[in-house]
Symmetry: C2
Subunit: 340 residues, 2 copies
Amino acid sequence: MTDVNRQILLKKRPVGAPAADHFESGEGRIRSPGGGEVLLKNLYLSIDPAIRGWMRDAKSYLPPIAIGEPIRSGALSQIVESNAEGWPAGQIVQGIAAWESFSTVSASNLHGRVERIEGIPLHAMLSVLGGTGLTAYFGLLEVGRPEEGETVLVSAAAGGVGSVVGQIARIKNCRAVGLTGSDDKCAWLTDALGYEAAINYKTADLQIALKEVCPQGIDVFFDSVGGEILNTVLTRLNRGGRIALCGAISQLNAGERPPGPSNYLQLLVKSARMEGFTTLDFATRYDEARAVLANWIREGQLTYRDDIVDGLENAPAHLLRLFTGEHRGKLMVKLADPEV
Amino acid sequence: MTDVNRQILLKKRPVGAPAADHFESGEGRIRSPGGGEVLLKNLYLSIDPAIRGWMRDAKSYLPPIAIGEPIRSGALSQIVESNAEGWPAGQIVQGIAAWESFSTVSASNLHGRVERIEGIPLHAMLSVLGGTGLTAYFGLLEVGRPEEGETVLVSAAAGGVGSVVGQIARIKNCRAVGLTGSDDKCAWLTDALGYEAAINYKTADLQIALKEVCPQGIDVFFDSVGGEILNTVLTRLNRGGRIALCGAISQLNAGERPPGPSNYLQLLVKSARMEGFTTLDFATRYDEARAVLANWIREGQLTYRDDIVDGLENAPAHLLRLFTGEHRGKLMVKLADPEV
């Protein structure tokens, strides 16, 4: 290998929102895969709130990113060299890699082979047919479990995950209501994504708006935001309601641990459930979900928008956009095209 | 009817802990049952934390008790006069009545007929074979869903519900660990109820004690207490852990709304679930549960202790004991014996 391994490293841990100076460029060596490992050429990086969590020095389902290490990231990659059975060179895969041109990882980091689907661009395998779509699919259907005719409320509804959740809810004949941070995005939710209603949580009184827009109460809340939004929604939850906890982007940048939802006893009063999940909980069922999602896309029932920038050096700025609420759809960074 | 209907009425709503002056004695008239109603002679009153909730002026699964009304209460009663099909006079029933000698209620308030079981005293139909036992049974098995070998932590473990939860956990080959408020009660849990370990939460550092006593973490937390105990347990929850929210006795007397569990995002990190319930959610399955519980009692696997005082006038003081933590097992007030 003669290629240089360009990297973006964690320079220091953010307190509050991440900024450019928490990252630094670097060059690493390209390591040949050991037993059970593969060498990946990274094609697209997936820009997700989870990255902010991994930058924190706290135990999670994965260990924190160490200072001086490349930023861990979901990625769409091509296997360049393999020392792992069942993962041949040339195969395009989706898994956990890092912000670098090449990553050498255990095959256990790979979530699945990616087979191109005619008429669907490769990068969609990282969004609507990748982690984003799978998160929406399993979180809504397996954790939220909406029944026909129920009201499904989605926070961060214009984001990569939320924009898919609302559409799946509509496909399942539920009433989808979205929360997002601008009137423009509200219009996008109702005009393009089939949300029945949308609330600009930055300008509305959420308690009042929810009463108006969800007069039958809320059966399922798909929440990626947490904080005061979650606390308010708890008061409007129906009996037997379900909250699928997908993230808490409002709390990710908080320095001190923010207060918990003081209305959590609504769960008791309403025999309701609040449940966290990650797609990893459903790892054996990715193929099934991808097939269903791809079918919805082909039938024209499910649409998606990917917000892609070119070049590794743009990854930090793209991550920061997650927290300013300026984006629509799934954020990713393109590094390379696959070799045929 | 010539009997006087003695009553204990809600005089004013407590702020903080209830006290004697929130109640007053009264005499009501005995009303003949209208269509779909029954007239009950109350035999035993069930003294439960739920009563404190109903004294509050807040929406719940039942409306608040109005000022001047008798205190709503679970009860074991005998039907004196019936205007409801399927509920004949003479039948002993369990349901929602009030702190009074006689109650006229809709048959929808009745949770079930009570058939005496040989060798088991009638009052047990209000505790281990009544609401308390049913709460323990459904909350642990249907909400907590413990698997063999898992660690089940129970708060208020020496209370009416908790003392049954630990035993069911042990019967299901789980490791039951109890939290209670005195060394005496700790000893009772481990010596008499088959808890493998018990923690006096008033004297122990809970975070440290949980690490010692639950070295494999906590799979199921059956919680009737809430507050800081819940918040600490969240940090020791295992991946896929379940919290069955049965109540929040630590918060019932709080004037202002107490803070929520600031560690609730542990649910996300651990793909864990927190779920509220009431026995009413399982109303169609009471007979099944009673049969299983009675069988365990006959086999000597399940023991119970009822803490009974005589006389309606003692009901308020008995309720207050719920919050001082002085009791073991199920609290009830005996009003009368059934007529044969």
